[in-house]
Each structure stands twice: as C-alpha cells, then as structure tokens.
C-alpha cells in the first residue's frame, strides 16, 4: 500500500505554482482595462455629438514628442530589469531614473497641453461633450501615469539608498508590468483621441 502511495507521489510532477505578484498584477490589469474600455467606448460613442464647439479638429495637436518619451520608457524599464537580474545595480539605477524622467516629461507635456486648451482654446470639461470625454479619458490615463511615477520614485529612492539587490527583480518585474500596461493604454488613447477622434 505504502509503496503504491509512494509511487503515486513520485509520479507527481514537481509542484511549482506561478508567482502571486505576477498573477495579482495581471488580474489588476484586466480590471483596469475594463475601466479604460468603458471610457474609450464613451469617447467613441460621443464623437461628433457635441452641440457646441470647439471641435477636436480645431484645437487638438498630436503630442508626438510626449508619446515617444512615454513609449520609450517601456524600453528603459525593460533594460533596467535586465540589469537588475545581472546584479548591475548602477546600470539599473540609471535606467530606472531614465524611465522616471521620460514618464515625468510625458506628464509635464500633458499638463502644458491642458493649459493650452483651457486658457487659449477655452475648452474645459464642462464646455461640451468633446471636453467631457477628452479630459476624462486622457485624465484617467494621466492619473495612472502619476501613480506609476510615484512607484518609480519609490524604487529610485530605494536604489539610491542602496536597498535594491538582484533578489528584488521579481517584485520590480511586477511593477514593470503595470508600467508597460500604462504605455500600452496610451497607444489606444492616442489612436482614439488623436487619430479616430479628429
């Protein structure tokens, strides 16, 4: 009997389950995608339904530079993690800082764009449906970038204090999933707002 049981046990493959951080973050990303989806649907549905100006074509300009900055920050965080896995802490800190800086440039650019729209074009969230959907969708994304920047800043502080080591790469990787997600959402938002919506 015990032999049979032992046989059954040895027949079991090794018991390895996925890392809970990765699964948790992946699930959170699905939830966030659903939230963004609703805002995107609202944006698409209300295109051209504003009953007063200004229209997107009149006031929107493509934020090419900011978009390049944000998207390239996905690359820098990817290489930052690669460096961390190889225990190159200096390289990691530099690339991690670059990610933070690129994200910060994006947020500043968004801020300037909003300032331009509000003070020079007179478009606020209550002006018309375009303003409503534009500020809420872009703002939702900007809010997620800000949360990401806080996370990046925290990681940067830890790195500068010398607390980050190769063993933390799994956790940093979980965070990087979030950052990649924020970048991917920007591709969708950019397409919807600046290409389809214009």
């Amino acid at each position: 009997m015990s032999e049979a049981e032992a046989a059954a046990q040895t027949a079991e493959p090794q018991w390895v389950l996925p890392y809970r951080g990765t699964v948790g973050m992946a699930t959170l990303i699905v939830a966030e995608s659903a939230i963004f989806l609703i805002f995107v649907v609202a944006y698409l549905f209300y295109i051209g339904k504003s009953i007063s100006g200004p229209t997107p074509r009149e006031v929107l300009e493509m934020p090419i530079f900011a978009s390049i900055c944000l998207l390239s920050s996905s690359l820098t965080i990817h290489y930052a993690l690669a460096a961390l896995r190889k225990a190159q802490i200096g390289m990691f800190t530099a690339l991690w800082f670059a990610t933070f800086a690129l994200g910060a440039i994006f947020i500043v650019a968004t801020g300037l764009e909003w300032r331009h729209l509000i003070y020079e074009k007179g478009l606020t969230i209550s002006t018309n449906l375009f303003g409503t959907t534009y500020y809420s969708l872009v703002g939702l994304h900007a809010f997620h970038v800000c949360v990401g920047l806080l996370g990046l800043l925290l990681g940067l502080l830890f790195a500068l204090m010398g607390k980050v080591q190769a063993q933390h790469s799994e956790k940093a990787e979980v965070f990087s999933l979030y950052w990649h997600f924020v970048d991917a959402v920007w591709v969708v938002v950019f397409t919807v707002v600046y290409i389809v919506g214009r």
């Binding site: 018991w15 996925p18 809970r20 948790g24 699930t27 699905v30 939830a31 659903a34 939230i35 809420s136």
Partner: protein, 557 residues
C-alpha cells in the same frame, strides 16, 4: 489531534479586555477573521435592509395607504436594493469565500493578506458612507435624506437639477468605494487560487467551491470595473459639470443604462456562482456520493460566466432597441439556460441513488434546487423580448429576481451557514431551531414571492407608492405582506440559533459530517495558521483517501 483542539480552545477562551480584542480584530490580516467580519457586517445590513423591505410591504398592504410618505417610500426602496446587493450579498459571499477558500485549497492564508484587510475596510466604509446619507444627504439644504433614485439610478434623475443635495453623491461614493474593495478581493481570490494551492491540488482536484469562487472573482473583475468607471462619470457630471449623461448637452441617458447593466447582469452571476459552490459541496456530503460530472460542472460554470457578459441589455427591452439588438439579447439570455440546466441535472444525479441525509444544510439545498429552477423559468419567460414588453417594470419582474436572490442565493447561503457553522465555531447548531427556520422561511418565501407574480401579471408596476382599490391587486398584496411576517420570524430563529449555539451548542468535533474536503481535516475552529502541517492531496476527496486507505479515490481519477 483531540488534545490539540482542547488546548487551542482553552487558549482562545482566555479572558482579554475589550480593547485588546477590538485591537486584535481591527488590525487582523487573518483570512478567517476577515471572513467573519465580512459575515457579521453583512448580517447586520441584512437586518437593516430587511426592515426597509418591511416598510415597503407595510405601505403596500392595503390600497390608498399612507404608512410612509412617497418620499420615504422611494428612499426605502432605493436603500433596500442598494444595501442588499452591495452590502449584504457581496460581503456575505466574499466573507464565506475568504474563510473557506484558503482552507479548502490547503493554504495558510490568502495570497495578499493585507490587501484582504484593506478590501474589507474599504467596503465597510463604503456602507457607512451610504448610510451616512440619512444624516448628511441634503447637506446645508435642510433635513437629511437618503438616496431616492432607485438602485440602478437611471439618468437624468441623478443629475443635479433632479437630485439636489448630496443624497445621490453618497449613493455614488458608497458604491464606488465598495467597488474598489470588491476588485481588491477579486484580485486576491484569483491570486490565491492560482498560486497558493497545496501540493497535489491541481486545478482538476480543487473543490468546486474554490472553482466557483475563481469564476466569481473573474466576473467581479470584468463587471465591477465598468460600474466603477460609470460611477466616476456620474461623479464628474455632478461635481465638475461634465455631460456624460446630460441629454441637454447631447449626452445620453441610455449610455448610463448600458454601463449600469454591463455591471448589473453579470452581478447576478457574481452572487449566484458562490451559491452553486455551496450547493456543490453540501449535496454530495449529504447524499454520501461524490459530485456527479465534476468536469462538466466546471465547464458549465465557466460557460455561464462567459455568456453572462453578453446578456445585459435584456434589462432594456422596454427602453426601445432595434430588432437586431432585441434578437441578440433574447437569444444570448436563453443560452444561459443550457449550462444552468446541466448544473441542475448534475445535482439531481448526485442525489440519485444516494443515501440522503435530511439535515438543515440539505433541506436548504433541496429548496434551492426547486426555487432556483422556477426562478430560471420565469427568467426564460422574461428573456423573450415580446413577453418582456408586456411585463417589464411590473411586479412580475420584482417577483422573478427576488425568486433568484431570496429563493436561490439566500437559501443556499443559509444552507452554507448551517453546514460550516460547526467548523467555524467548533459547536453544533441546534437542529430543531434550524428546521423551524427552514419551515418558517419556506412558508414566508412562497407566500411573498409566489403571490407577487400575480399582481405583476395584472399590471401592477414596480416601485409604485400606492394603488387604488378595485383593480384586483388588494388580496395579492395582503398575502405578499403576510409572508414577510413569516420570513422575519424565520430570520429571528436563524439569528437566535447562531447566537445560542455559539455559547451553548454541543462541541462538534473536527468533522461532524464525515465530509471529504480539506477544511474538515483541521481542528474546529481552525487555528490562525490553518494546518499544523501543510497537506498534500492526491484526489478530489483528500479526506476520503485518509479515511479509506484501502480504496482511495486517486486510483480511479
């Protein structure tokens, strides 16, 4: 093992001051304590929302009644619906899942214990926000008032001109905040079930309750998130003057309906899935047979979840959609009946030829089977668009969904309470009181909700404040309200049983039902670490294997 439990029991009963106890519960990250807090919280709101329903029914007991004012009636019906869904059903099921899932899959806690505590407290404060509206609803405008926009709060009723003051803001905020908690809990459930299973607990060997909580969590992720987005839009509309649902600026009231029901319909399945899990655990144990068609049960659950994501607009047939939308949502809704039917037949097949033991959990489960079937049948009727045009927004609809929620969900929750009560408290409930509860509740439930269909068929609209005599509605409404009395007495027997047995019930031992899943292998109540030694399993019924080493299940699976 026995000496262990005595030692642990003695330690647990050491005298401690109230502040120490309070501190321990407030800062706890133990999934069992958090689960119990969810359950107590939900039971409290069950009583509150039950009293609100009682006010509604007293108002409707006779024609031209003026027990409460129309304004109060609207508040009662809004608060009853909102509370029952968001602050009774959800926390009750999350609480039971929280308590049971880690133990059933052989884990020592959830994947993220602190996130778990955060989710509970966020949800709890969401409920407090909602109820604070009674005091602060109108802010500086005058006396306080609760939200009165109905539980699905259609636009433009929720816009500032029609809902001045803060009552609707409290409604939005309460749901938004508790939604964050729900999403956190769902993330936690998925990570726990995917990553924390004990050795040998493959997905194919998980107890069905764990499977169904996984499906529930996935649905919460996909359904509650859209609601969160919609509530954020409503807040923007009310606070900063955006125009999402403002028809005067080109916005659309129908968009709110879509967004709300994209949440609202899967929510029904969020609530019923864990109940399928309870039933799937109780029926095999009380039939002394393993569950019939385990893989099909899992497949049917996943299938229901998928289909439920594309049926939402059957709540909107009466709003007026084109014939393609009507056909699509009719057909997709009818399709839900197929996997649900498979599940019902599997439960029946589990009972077929078994040695049935008619204890309280089994009684509630059998009542569930009958009542859920009837609820499903009226659901099929309402799914047909032409039938719905006739009866949409009538008392027939109210009767239908209360049949699902009370006859299906609440009955199975009662069954689950009695089934796991000895595990959670270490003491047996009182079987006589439990049967009294069952009988009273069956009578009360059927008096109220069977007879509620009829005034609906006769044209009585839902949410009506009062009605004239001579329409043929009087007798039915009288019977419906009398049923409430029986239900209230049943709840009284239930609460009395829980409280009395907590102190005076006879010790239950670790495995009073001779059951097969892992939670019965540890002591009752389980210690903070759940298992002294993390178990390893080889089949779907690990305790059967332990009790019958000569004929273990893993030989056949």
């Amino acid at each position: 093992m026995a000496t262990d439990s005595i030692a642990l029991g003695a330690a647990a009963r050491e005298r401690r001051s109230i502040t120490e106890l309070l501190h321990e519960w407030v800062v706890t990250v133990d999934h069992k304590k958090i689960g119990l807090m969810y359950i107590f919280y939900a039971l409290f709101f069950l009583i509150v929302a039950g009293l609100e329903a009682t006010v509604i029914r007293i108002q409707l007991i006779v024609p031209n009644n003026h027990f409460v004012s129309p304004q109060v009636f609207n508040r009662m019906m809004t608060m009853h619906g909102t509370t029952m869904i968001f602050f009774v059903a959800m926390p009750l099921l999350f609480g039971m899942g929280n308590y049971l899932v880690p133990i059933m899959i052989g884990a020592r806690d959830m994947a993220f214990p602190r996130l778990n505590a955060w989710s509970f407290w966020v949800m709890a404060f969401g409920g407090l926000l909602l109820y604070f509206s009674f005091l602060g609803g109108s802010g500086l405008y005058g006396a306080g008032s609760a939200p009165d926009v109905g539980w699905f709060a259609y636009a433009p009723l929720t816009s500032l001109p029609f809902s001045p003051g803060h009552s609707t803001d409290f409604w939005t905020l309460g749901i938004l905040v508790s939604g964050f908690g729900s999403i956190g809990t769902a993330v936690n459930f998925i990570a726990t079930i995917v990553c924390m299973r004990c050795k040998g607990m493959t997905m194919g060997r998980m107890p069905l309750l764990a499977w169904l909580m996984l499906v529930t969590a996935a649905l919460v992720i996909l359904a509650v998130s859209p609601l969160t987005a919609a509530q954020a839009m409503l807040m923007l509309d009310r606070y900063v003057g955006s125009h999402f649902f403002d028809t005067q600026a080109g916005g659309s009231a129908v968009v709110w309906m879509h967004f709300f029901w994209i949440f609202g319909h899967p929510e029904v399945y969020v609530l019923i899935m864990p109940c399928f899990g309870f039933i799937s655990e109780i029926i095999p144990v009380f039939s002394r047979k393993p569950i019939f068609g385990y893989p099909v049960m899992v497949g049917a659950s996943v299938c229901i979840a998928f289909v439920s994501l594309s049926v939402w607009a059957h709540h909107m047939f009466t709003v007026g959609m084109d014939s393609y939308a009507n056909s699509f949502f009719t057909i997709s809704t009818l399709i839900v009946g197929i996997p649900t039917g498979i599940k019902i037949f599997n439960w029946l097949a589990t009972m077929w030829g078994g040695k049935l033991i008619f204890k309280a959990p089994m009684l509630f489960s059998i009542a569930f089977l009958f009542q859920f079937l009837i609820a499903g049948l009226t659901g099929v009727m309402l799914a047909a668009a032409p039938f719905d045009w006739q009866l949409g927004n009538s008392y027939f609809v109210v009767a239908h969904f209360h049949y699902v929620i009370v006859g299906g969900i609440l009955f199975s929750v009662f069954g689950a309470f009695y089934y796991w009560y000895p595990k959670v408290t270490g003491r047996m409930y009182n079987e006589w009181l439990a049967r009294l509860h069952f009988v009273l509740f069956v009578i009360g439930f059927h008096l109220t909700f069977d007879f509620m269909h009829i005034p609906g068929l006769l044209g009585m609209p839902r949410r009506i404040y009062t009605y004239e005599a001579g329409r043929g509605w009087e007798t039915w409404n009288l019977i419906v309200t009398i049923g409430v009395l029986f239900q209230a007495l049943g709840i009284l027997a239930f609460v009395a049983n829980l409280a009395w047995s907590w102190f005076k019930g006879r010790p239950a031992g670790n495995d009073p039902w001779d059951a097969w899943t892992l939670e019965w292998s540890t002591v009752s109540p389980p210690p903070a670490y759940n298992f002294a030694e993390v178990p390893a399993v080889h089949s779907r019924r690990p305790l059967w294997d332990l009790k019958h080493p000569e004929d273990p299940d893993w030989k056949y699976e």
